[in-house]
Point group: C2
């Protein structure tokens, strides 16, 4: 009912970072895509097979370094049913390797529909009198625009199935302020949402001191992160924007607590495309990703 499991894995690997698996096809080494294009043509199936091989290679290379992976659902949905199959296979493989899986879906809807989303990814779905898992992950991201109704079903499943969620609070993108930085009653919208996160998180705090409801807080806004860290004392932060989006280790520091816990920093492109920087051969994409994951781990730990 909390993020205790994630915290354990972070401690075990002394690494508060998560590898984002956002497999645009242009990130996949061309010797892999070529193999499947030759076999299946330039089809969604070829794309899915290439992504599965790439992801499994990355997971093999990273699974003793990082505590968690974060597949971005958009980059699987983009390849239709075949892409969804690639996501399912990626999740299954990462589970075998003992990784914590944060599925980045940013779902949101009214109560009964949010319940369906939660069942799809955290809970179980009823088929007659049988309960079945659809795609079972450890954690998902959610969007708070609809308020408590849309979040409560996820929190219920967190408690029931020992899962976690991360609600968008202050996102890493340039236009995040258009809505999130609006000021009302002397506080920004992201601060109002942070108070909601506290309310949703209230009864879920585990032995780590952190609850099931975390927050997405971008590395690109360190000043806001500092404020948010002080409001949401019992929430873990999922921190995008390190690396390719411009946030460095100093940018992520305010997301952490004094004990070096409280945040997990994502890198997607930086790790997946590490082989495209320097003198790597495409075939060495795994080693390149591993080196970048180690560099990132050391970089972040150096400021904690």
């Amino acid at each position: 009912m909390s993020v205790d499991l994630l915290v354990e894995k972070i401690k075990e690997k002394s690494n508060p970072s998560v590898a984002g698996l956002d497999p645009k096809l242009e990130y996949v080494p061309s010797y892999i895509t070529k193999k499947y294009f030759d076999e299946y043509g330039k089809t969604l199936k070829a794309a899915a097979e290439a992504i599965i091989e790439f992801n499994k290679g990355l997971i093999d290379a990273l699974c003793d370094i990082v505590p968690a992976i974060k597949p971005q659902s958009a980059f699987y949905e983009m390849y239709g049913l075949e892409g969804e199959r690639a996501l399912n296979e990626t999740v299954a493989y990462a589970k075998e390797k003992g990784l914590y899986i944060i599925l980045d879906i940013k779902r949101n809807d009214i109560g009964t529909t949010a319940e369906a989303y939660s069942r799809a990814y955290l809970g179980k779905v009823c088929i007659g009198d049988t309960e079945v898992s659809a795609l079972d992950v450890d954690s998902v991201t959610v969007n708070p625009y609809l308020g408590t109704d849309g979040i409560a079903p996820f929190v219920n499943d967190c408690v029931k199935y020992d899962k976690s969620i991360f609600a968008l609070v202050k996102t890493s993108n340039p236009s995040s302020g258009e809505l999130q930085d609006i000021v009302s009653d002397g506080r920004h919208i992201y601060e109002h949402i942070a108070e909601c996160v506290n309310k949703w998180n209230e009864n879920t705090v585990g032995k780590s001191g952190y609850g099931a409801v975390g927050a997405v807080v971008g590395a690109t806004y360190p000043e806001q992160a500092r404020v948010l860290r002080s409001i949401m004392k019992n929430s873990y932060f999922l921190v995008p924007g390190y690396g390719a989006q411009g946030g460095g280790a100093k940018g992520v520091k305010p997301c952490f607590n004094g004990d070096g816990l409280g945040a997990i920093v994502n890198s997607s492109r930086g790790i997946m495309c590490a082989y495209k920087k320097g003198n790597w051969k495409e075939e060495d994409f795994m080693e390149a990703a591993r080196r970048e994951a180690i560099r990132m781990k050391n970089d972040i730990n150096s400021v904690l």
Copy 2:
């Protein structure tokens, strides 16, 4: 690059309503679920087959009455890969029948990821030098929490592929006000977002007078709808909350313009479960749905 196609279909059928296809398994007549449980056991495959048969029956019953369907993605994702297959088959079948398809996904993310979502549902995805459609629909719902970055890729594809989107502005659920009703500078957040919708919609207005960027405005908040109608003059409203959620024809009236255009009202449970009210036999679910769709059409037209 606008909602002209939707407006045409609404005029053709003199019906500003859309049938929501949110196939919870308990909505499906038991003689259908039983058939597939007997064949496949209580499995995700059985659930998907039951949903496909139910949806096709509903589409057959409704396709000369309603201009559009709105599948709610959550209720397909809930059944995993099999559920996604059911969604794909439902969309394909509805297309054959000439229906406008609004896929209710409420997606949102940073720019490059929003682009992937848009390609998945409105645009095309590149596989090598080939462009492929993943699941091609006419329109999707989007969430504005991340600001312009997260919406622009969808608007670009609306222009390029003649599609539309509906951005959440004032949602129909009880807790929608927690964020959406916060007041800043004398205006509610939903009014601020309405101004953003105007900006996003600016260069997309078609011959109907409406642009590609519409707004989700709940039937349960008619006062707010009145205000929003006056702000977003060139946006079509997608209106949930009629029927099961408590909004009636009077509640939806403020969403329309004087000419009887400007809004399309959704009913999901009311139509899908029409056979559960009154003295219908389960086997007559199609006729019951048809009668309810006609009743709803007349009910809404009576206040326009």
